[in-house]
């Protein structure tokens, strides 16, 4: 057996400051089919892609300030795929005329030891849920249509209950900071989905009770 080839690539240290541009909305289950039909027509021609993911939200509480939040996701339909760890920053206040919510975003692919590792780091699991639905793409834009279920018995993803009779719809783009033309493209795409769905800029920090 030959030894693996010499690596010429330098050790990289991750991507630059990436931002997530986001619009959200929801659609009643009754209207789901028409929305999917519209999306199939508007989005890139690709094989229909469905997913079922289990997301665990972890908090790290420091001595002061807000807890640090990380989201760990794993695919239930592809159990051998890596886990996905995500950090989302506070939404940027900035420009009111901007059409989408903009927040810092760090995506990390990680091995299956992630939950143990986060625990060792001092993170504690706060809540978990299962999402299941469809993914569409149009260029750099990603559209996710999914339902959200709560996990009734901690850790048991077989035993879940739908949160509502509607589907969550998210239109998002990942881009380096400062590319505000992205939100223009998103707005015009969202326009094309009206009146089936109204995608809006929703600030998650204002939703907390």
């Amino acid at each position: 057996m030959e030894a693996p080839p010499v690596t010429v690539m330098p050790i990289t240290s991750g991507t630059i400051n990436m931002m997530e541009y986001l619009l959200q909305g929801s659609v009643l289950d009754a209207a789901l089919e028409s929305l999917l039909h519209r999306l199939r027509g508007l989005c890139d021609n690709m094989e229909p892609e469905t997913f079922t993911d289990h997301e665990l939200v972890y908090l790290l509480k420091g001595q002061q300030g807000n807890p640090f939040i990380l989201r760990a996701r794993r695919s239930l339909s592809h159990p051998t795929a890596p886990w996905h760890l995500r950090y989302l920053g506070q939404p940027e206040v900035g420009d009111k005329s901007r059409h989408a919510l903009v927040r810092n975003c760090v995506d990390v692919a990680a091995s299956h030891s992630l939950p143990d590792f986060l625990n060792e780091m001092g993170f504690r699991m706060d809540h978990e849920f299962v999402t299941s639905g469809h993914i569409f793409r149009k260029g750099a834009m990603k559209v996710v249509v999914c339902n959200v279920s709560r996990v009734l018995v901690p850790g048991n993803t077989e035993n879940t209950e739908r949160m509502s009779l509607s589907h969550l719809v998210e239109l998002s783009v990942l881009a380096p900071a400062g590319q505000d033309t992205v939100s223009e493209d998103m707005r015009s795409f969202a326009e094309q989905l009206r009146p089936l769905i109204h995608l809006e800029k929703i600030d998650p920090s204002k939703q907390r009770h």
């Binding site: 057996m1 030959e2 030894a3 693996p4 010499v6 690596t7 010429v8 690539m9 330098p10 050790i11 990289t12 240290s13 991750g14 991507t15 790290l60 509480k61 420091g62 001595q63 300030g65 640090f68 760890l85 950090y87 920053g89 760090v106 995506d107 990390v108 692919a109 990680a110 091995s111 030891s113 992630l114 143990d116 590792f117 060792e120 780091m121 001092g122």
Partner: protein
């Protein structure tokens, strides 16, 4: 990855770190090993700033290896290991209020990579805050993933250029039941590098060896 062993090599008497490395290179070349580029393994140390339960905080090590240039390995000593992509480094920057980078603790191991038939040999100089602290040798036997099946062969091969400095079976393998090597990731290799770095960190180096 095949079975990999990482061990320290003492600096030859009356020689500097660089001279000892040169002697090792010469021995490998005499054996017929072919130089194939260079390699680098680095390790950053992070300390938790919060101390929730009052227990002493563990150190978190974040390591890279040029053999897997898009990955990043995070380890706790004796604890769980995580293999992630390079964005984990970006995440550690975000976490800086909870995990402080102990800058003075950065360790690097750089050197040449040799190939000899089925073996990969890496001779590295371990540096801490720009002073050479020791020499490492990594030997990988590429075709095999079961340490018990090839350890004697590896030992014999290592003897041919390390002489009496051949190590015992690494503890990462000894600790495993019927020691199957963790395939396709290099966590076992990184654990060995971490052990070596921590050993060298504690060593007092005579002034003559400091560059």
């Amino acid at each position: 990855m095949g079975v990999t062993c990482v061990c320290p090599v003492p600096v030859a008497e009356g020689k500097s770190v660089q001279q000892t490395v040169d002697i090792l290179h010469k021995k490998l070349e005499q054996l017929g090993a072919v130089k194939q580029g260079s390699f680098c393994v680095d390790c950053e140390t992070y300390q938790s700033t919060g101390n929730p339960g009052g227990q002493p905080s563990k150190l978190l090590y974040v390591m890279h290896n040029s053999e897997v240039p898009l990955s990043c390995m995070a380890l706790f000593e004796g604890g769980p290991c995580l293999t992630a992509d390079a964005n984990f480094d970006v995440l550690m920057v975000k976490l800086k209020s909870h995990f402080q980078n102990a800058k003075g603790h950065k360790v690097e191991c750089r050197g040449s990579r040799y190939r000899y038939c089925d073996f990969l040999i890496k001779v590295g100089t371990v540096t801490m805050s720009s002073s050479a602290r020791g020499i490492s040798v990594e030997v990988e036997y590429c075709p095999c993933v079961v340490p018990g099946d090839c350890w004697n062969l590896m030992r014999e091969f290592m003897q041919s250029f390390l002489g009496n400095n051949v190590p015992e079976l690494p503890t990462v393998f000894a600790a495993k039941p019927e020691g199957l090597f963790a395939p396709a990731d290099c966590v076992d290799t990184m654990t060995q590098y971490l052990e070596l770095f921590n050993k060298l960190r504690k060593l007092q180096i005579p002034a003559s060896n400091v560059r």
